[in-house]
């Protein structure tokens, strides 16, 4: 058979086999294989990532950014801590001053349980913002659990939990969507991840007052996220007066590109909607 014909046959066969493997993957049949591959290569991946970060950092330092970077890191951590404290205090104030709405989930922060996890891999696909952690089902991690960084800054949610590792979809992922609240004053909206840009806070009522610098937190609506987790701060506000809604660009509170350790909120599970 001519080579070109053989290649066509190979293409068709590869496509069919690839589709079958994708189906098996979606049905979780390949989870043990994925778990083993990630676990076995984790040390090598960590070493390679550290080496790559060093090389990448070397070029950054040539631009004189090394010392400034360390200062920025320290200031960012302190800012996260203060921002989280501010969000909790404001939420407590809103609760005592307003009528309580019927909620699907009531979260009590002192009773929350957290699991420390290290980031072991980052998805290389440019259309996806996801990282892998070294905790999985055997550690109590389940899909839907919320992941936070220092200062309770929202990092993302667990979208795939294998036996020893789990994949987290970050708040910056284009498929991420979070019911949010802009504090001071309260204005509700939805924070959606965007490709190559900061997340966008959408569906803000036109009458709502939103200013650059305002704190954006999870509203708790829908029960997918606990209330008052810090998503970020408003950078810019866009929209014409004649539009029904306006939108705002949000700077994520969690430094998703620099995270090495995160906390999985294991005491929070999104409730399953049931028929009355």
């Amino acid at each position: 058979m001519a080579m070109s014909g053989r290649v066509v046959v190979w293409l068709v066969a590869t496509t069919v086999i690839g589709a079958i493997v994708i189906l098996l993957s979606q049905q979780r049949t390949l989870d043990p294989l994925q778990n083993a591959a990630l676990s076995l290569t984790s040390p090598a991946q960590s070493a390679l990532r550290q080496a790559a970060d060093s090389v990448s950092g070397f070029f950054d330092r040539q631009g004189g950014e090394g010392d400034l970077e360390a200062q920025v890191q320290g200031l960012r951590r302190e800012n996260q801590r203060l921002t989280a404290e501010l969000a909790r205090l404001r939420e407590e104030l809103a609760t005592t001053q307003a009528l309580l709405e019927l909620q699907q989930v009531v979260q009590e922060r002192p009773g929350d349980k957290f699991l420390l996890a290290n980031i072991i891999a980052k998805d290389p696909d440019d259309l996806r913002e996801a990282v892998a952690i070294d905790r999985g089902r055997k550690d109590g991690v389940a899909e839907g659990m919320v992941v936070v960084a220092e200062g309770e800054a929202l990092v993302g949610t667990v979208t795939r939990a294998l036996e020893d590792v789990a994949w987290i979809t970050l708040v910056t992922d284009p498929n991420s969507s979070i019911n949010a609240l802009v504090q001071s004053p309260d204005a509700k909206g939805v924070v959606s991840g965007r490709l190559g840009s900061r997340p966008l806070l959408e569906l803000i009522p036109q009458a709502a007052v939103v200013n650059p610098g305002d704190l954006v937190v999870t509203s708790g609506l829908g029960g997918t996220f606990p209330k008052a987790l810090v998503i970020g701060r408003v950078i810019t506000v866009e929209g014409e007066p004649q539009d029904a809604f306006k939108q705002a660009t949000v700077e994520p509170a969690a430094p998703v590109g620099e995270l090495e350790t995160v906390l999985v909120l294991t005491s929070f599970r999104p409730p399953r909607l049931q028929r009355p």
Partner: protein, 168 residues
């Protein structure tokens, strides 16, 4: 001999792709060294070896990412066809055709990846992806091509196929 040497090479490149490349983001995209390496291998070493090695490396890569396993198997497959279309003789320096294969292969890779993503129920911002991911990725992968092509061309990895990439 080429398979015994080629498989570890492909797996190592796949591991580097997953572990190290996310640390670099020229033009805001992650270099796809597995794609570049595959294109260079096909044009230098021929299609028959790649038919075996590429799916294995693609599977290994997918096992280490959040993507559905099998996605890269489909997305990298067009490279072999593109290399055959590019033609040429193994004794010729084929850097320019290889660059074209890398460029077209990058677009095909991202297009197939997007189609599979849509089929699995997720969204793809096509217009943004084209301008902010696909086109920059073409440029980045093309710049990286000589770094993989020249060593493969010079490396004593065994006898090259006497025929071109298509076997003719």
């Amino acid at each position: 001999m080429n398979y015994y040497l080629g498989l570890p090479l492909f797996l190592a490149v796949a591991l580097l792709q997953v572990a190290a490349m996310p640390s670099f983001s020229p033009l805001g995209v992650t270099p796809n060294i597995l794609l570049v390496f595959t294109a260079c291998w096909v044009t230098v070493r021929g299609q028959p070896q790649a038919m075996i090695l590429v799916p294995m490396a693609a599977l290994f890569r997918d096992l280490l990412t959040a993507e559905a396993v099998g996605t890269s198997v489909i997305a990298l497959a067009p490279l072999l066809l593109l290399a055959g279309i590019a033609g040429g003789r193994p004794t010729e320096a084929r850097l320019m055709p290889t660059l074209l294969v890398v460029a077209a292969g990058t677009l095909a890779y991202h297009l197939l990846n997007g189609i599979i993503t849509i089929a699995l129920g997720q969204t793809v911002p096509w217009a943004t992806a084209l301008t902010q991911v696909w086109l920059p990725a073409v440029a980045v992968n093309a710049v990286l091509t000589p770094a993989f092509y020249l060593p493969l061309w010079w490396a004593p990895l065994g006898e090259r196929p006497r025929r071109g990439p298509t076997g003719r």
